[in-house]
Symmetry: C2
Subunit: 155 residues, 2 copies
Amino acid sequence: MTKLDTYDLALLRMLQKNGRATINDLAEGVGLSPSPVARRVRMLEDAGIITGYAALLDEAALGFEFSVFVSVKLDRQVDDALAKFEAAVRRYPEVVDCWLMTGNRDYLLRVATRGLADFEQFLTGTFTKIPGVTSIESSIPLRRVKSGLARILDQ
Amino acid sequence: MTKLDTYDLALLRMLQKNGRATINDLAEGVGLSPSPVARRVRMLEDAGIITGYAALLDEAALGFEFSVFVSVKLDRQVDDALAKFEAAVRRYPEVVDCWLMTGNRDYLLRVATRGLADFEQFLTGTFTKIPGVTSIESSIPLRRVKSGLARILDQ
DNA sequence: GCTGAAACTCATACGGC
DNA sequence: GCCGTATGAGTTTCAGC
């Protein structure tokens, strides 16, 4: 991995705020001509620093207003429990985000559904049926205060 | 808010996977000519369903490998504690994500830093100094299993 | 509300510094 | 490694259906 200079960091900051910024926009923003900007952006993509681009969707506007944080503990006895659980989690669209935590086979998930009824159906109908899932604890958020994608670069 | 048809949903799905997909790509994907696709995308933006576009950055590649989930409880006595806390949280680049939870003025945050040392410095040096912050509980994740931005549309 | 074509903007590659 | 130009994509608008 090559070292990033201030131009690269400025480009990342701009692209994090607007992933559809044109090369010309970026060039003007950082004070270079379009050619080196295009080359640098391609470098950042090839180096895996920019992993992709996405449209940001308003979950509430799409009807998925109801998020729940779910804490899950897996049974130590069940073989391949982690692998199977993670595969299932990746498959379910309801699970937006999932982290493996330190400790006792704990996972933290954010599940987004249309409402409490849909959430309950997901939980009892499909989620608890994943082999190895033992205890489940749900926490309900009131409101999202800050929704970052990744750490915003300093300065 | 107008009802979304299957073309709109297909466009959202494509743009969620690739926020830089061209109008021509999208047109081919959904089976329309470029003109109506451009119009529909603009409509989705204007309606606030697409709230923006972002480059997805690899936090680890940028050196922010160390994430911590922080649970915070605010003092009921302190006036404006919530507003001040939220303003601070929005200001700190270390705080990537923050949710107000149901219950007793609880917040759940994800904090991303370069390592344990930086995290400790952030916690003791700046975070605990926010007025009203009483109890803090940290949980350390091992690995991110799924990193969604928003609920992926069904089907 | 879609199609297709024309005008314009943007991206990419290359020669020169 | 950057700049400037030229060529080819991509975008946008408009007339016609």
